[in-house]
């Protein structure tokens, strides 16, 4: 795409002015980066699906660009006691078919969520903590949990609300055909062509005010180059996931604008903390199996790995500055993060010293496993990581593979050292603390994604303590404390936070979102 820069400007401008005439001023055409698998908002817990569903449906609370709660269908909530939540619903909200929105709709939606047949990834976990849900009047909800659980309100953000009649009878097919696509959101459903596009029309009655677009088309263009080309050609007014090499070029084009924000996803290194010896891909410095010990369980070795990482180089060279070096589990702008966790400085000498202290003055050998089609530039980052480690004496080989193989093998604990990413749907550190760093325990549901089986009773206690704290401010402080512990123990080695990037025509603005959703309602025409 390099030759774009030398494209005859006059031609391009002439063409663009022609295009803007031919497009209706009030139609927004967006290029999505991934196809959706269904329109049913309760069928498949997948970012593209949720993003598209959110044009039509809404959860109880909305979130701002950094996933802080703001009133939506629900106006407020409070704890009556640690086990009971009272949620006040907004009055005067209408469904797209004109009927009024009431508490019964919410109850019916919560009932449908765990009960969608054939769902490959359901939203059940977000409502599982609710043991009893009642509606004393049309605009009040009472939710009870079996044990104190303060993640509930944020969890409910993933539960889209549908009308009672739809919740009780509609099947996934009815959403795909459009019959059941009745929401309260800013846009109404018009048409769905699988693998191609979804079309919406404005909901003029929307309680949050009318959007800027009479119609919205969301087209699925997974190929990065094709999506950028379609934006340049004027066929699209907005695209998701601008590839990192194109960000600079697009932002220097005066017909286009870039919107970017740090995302809730961290890229990190995960180490085998499960085996005390004979970790499958750890070898002594001269290549023999390590039968006595597993160096990766030693906090000094893990700290040394962190010190060996030159995060600035990764961000500047590989990510072309479209990323932020990471010092904790989720970027500082989010709720519950610590102010005392600066990014670890690149310190190869310090790393060597720590390795020597831990009893590995000559280092050891390691194989890093990484996916090659899952995260932005994942393979290149893994190459850099392997080189950084080799430089301090941990001779590292790299093996990359498609994500479908990587995650299956990772979950079978076949690896010693992995590069992976984690997006915190909760918008705070609670999600990585529980799923990624919590002790693996099927009964409590913690550590489900803990492929290194890191386990620290001390950290688990801090996390649990934060999860039962009702007071929001105190909860934030406790989450920060747990984050500090996690980094002190080096449960994972943070590398960087991904940045989400949207490209738009110059006359549009979009408040870039950390949760990576593309919400047509938030796309505004510059006045």
């Amino acid at each position: 795409m390099r030759f774009l820069t030398c494209m005859p400007r006059v031609l391009l401008l002439a063409f663009l002015s022609f295009q803007s005439l031919s497009l209706s001023a009030n139609e927004l055409v967006v290029g999505l980066a991934a196809p959706i698998t269904s329109l049913d908002p309760h069928y498949h817990n997948l970012t593209p699906n949720i993003s598209v569903a959110k044009q039509v449906f809404e959860p109880l609370f909305l979130t701002d660009a950094f996933q802080n709660l703001k009133p939506g269908l629900a106006e407020s909530w409070r704890n009556i006691d640690p086990l009971t939540y009272e949620i006040k619903l907004r009055k005067g909200v209408k469904w797209h078919d004109g009927s009024p929105f009431v508490a019964e709709d919410v109850l019916a939606s919560f009932k449908r969520i765990p009960d969608v047949p054939n769902s490959p990834a359901s939203f059940a976990l977000y409502v599982r903590q609710i043991t009893e849900a009642t509606a004393p009047d049309a605009h009040t909800l009472i939710l009870k949990t079996a044990k104190p659980y303060t993640g509930l309100i944020r969890d409910l953000n993933s539960a889209q609300i549908v009308p009672k009649a739809v919740a009780e009878s509609a099947k996934t097919e009815d959403f795909n055909s459009g019959k059941a696509m009745i929401g309260t959101g800013p846009y109404k459903f018009v048409e769905y062509k699988p693998g191609d596009r979804v079309v919406f029309a404005r909901n003029d009655e929307y309680w949050g005010g009318k959007g800027d677009w009479t119609t919205v088309q969301m087209r699925m263009i997974a190929n990065n180059a094709a999506r950028v080309a379609a934006l340049l050609a004027g066929d699209l007014q907005m695209i998701e996931n601008v590839p990192t090499p194109d960000v600079k070029r697009l932002s220097s084009n005066k017909d286009l604008a870039i919107a970017q924000a740090v995302s809730n996803r961290i890229i990190y290194l995960h180490m085998d903390s499960n085996r005390t010896k004979n970790s499958p891909f750890v070898r002594t410095a001269d290549g023999k199996p390590m039968e006595e010990a597993n160096p990766l369980t030693d906090p000094r070795v893990r700290r040394a790995i962190s010190k060996a990482m030159n995060r600035d180089v990764i961000v500047e060279r590989i990510m072309e500055t479209v990323a932020v070096p990471a010092g904790q589990l989720i970027a500082e702008q989010f709720f519950g993060t610590s102010k005392n966790l600066p990014v670890e400085k690149y310190d190869p000498e310090g790393a060597k010293k720590l390795l020597a202290e831990a009893g590995y003055p000559n280092g050891f050998q390691l194989t890093l496993h990484a996916p090659n089609n899952r995260y932005i530039n994942d393979e290149k980052i893994a190459q850099a990581v392997a080189q950084f480690l080799t430089r301090v004496g941990i001779v590292t080989k790299l093996e990359t593979m498609p994500s479908n193989i990587f995650f299956s093998r990772g979950s079978k604990l076949e690896f010693s050292f992995m590069l992976a990413g984690w997006a915190s749907e909760s918008g705070d550190p609670s999600s990585p603390l529980r799923s990624l760093l919590g002790t693996y325990d099927a009964t409590t549901g913690t550590g489900a994604a803990n492929r290194g089986r890191f386990s620290s009773p001390e950290l688990d206690a801090l996390t649990t303590d934060a999860m039962i704290e009702i007071d929001e401010a105190k909860r934030g402080a406790k989450l920060a404390l747990a984050s500090e512990k996690a980094i002190e123990l080096m449960g994972i080695v943070p590398l960087h936070y991904e940045v989400s990037v949207w490209g738009t025509r110059a006359n549009l603005t979009y408040a870039a979102r950390a949760d990576q959703y593309t919400l047509a309602h938030e796309v505004k025409i510059k006045k």
């Binding site: 990834a121 190929n223 995650f407 093998r409």
Partner: protein, 325 residues
Amino acid sequence: MFVFIMRRLSQTAVVLLVTSLLVFAGLFVVGDPVEILISPDADQIERERARVALGLDKPGWMQYLLFLKNALSGDLGKSFVYGRPALEVIFERMPATLELATVAMLISILVGIPLGLYAGLKPDSKISKAIMAISIVGFSLPTFWVGLMLIMLFAVQLGWLPSTGRGPTTEFLGMKLSIVHWDGLKYAILPGINLALFKLSLIIRLTRAQVRENVLLDYIRFARAKGLRKSRILGVHLLKNIMIPLVTVIGLELGSVIAFAIVTESIFAWPGMGKLVIDSIFQLDRPVVVAYLMITVLMFVVINLVIDILYSVLDPRVRLSAAKN
């Protein structure tokens, strides 16, 4: 003829069985679909629920036997990803792929054969040399690069044609087609050319070689000596004789255009089967991949059968019973 067709069909059944077993086993080895489909946030309870919901909690051999049992009654299983019958998901995308294949094959045949004839009849003219040079380029350039260049030139710079996507569709003979109107057809031109380029070059070169070989043969000389019109020699005698290898190649290429238009479909965001199958492989959506490959096998078998029948029409020396050997 009837015996011939029946024999072919029974062979097909064996091929289908082997294909399904290979694909099934292959995907089983690659990985666990639940790991890919599940939300990373999911806890162990939810992972187990998904495994049971998709029928993946049973041992592999039992999953295969269940699949076979259902397949015999025409049910190739429900897609893990879409939760709908795999065949339905595939057939929904089929019209898009078929029309793209049609456009590409029409371009290759209608442009390729005349150019090939010209180059074969006048091998020394400058135009012929230019045609041959271009065909080499068409052969050697990678499809994805040509596709991007076409978008850059005709959509971004000149703005003549839309860059990506499929145009508005209209109901035609029970299928939703986009190419029966100009509004939709203009979306199919760039991907059509992109997909056709390789076949076009192939057909040009093959036609030329056949023509060069045949014009020297006795029957052409005899026809000339008899004083037949040039157009008749060309259009009836020569064309009929060079058609046999051409039909074979065109037939097989048609199959590959339909089954493997993946690169073109992804670059042009064309919502066809190729894109579907690639997505399905990444998501380990086994029912869709198995069903897709079985359809592909079936399609190739049918195309080959049609080719064999066409042979006997084009060349009276060929008898279908000879295919027994």
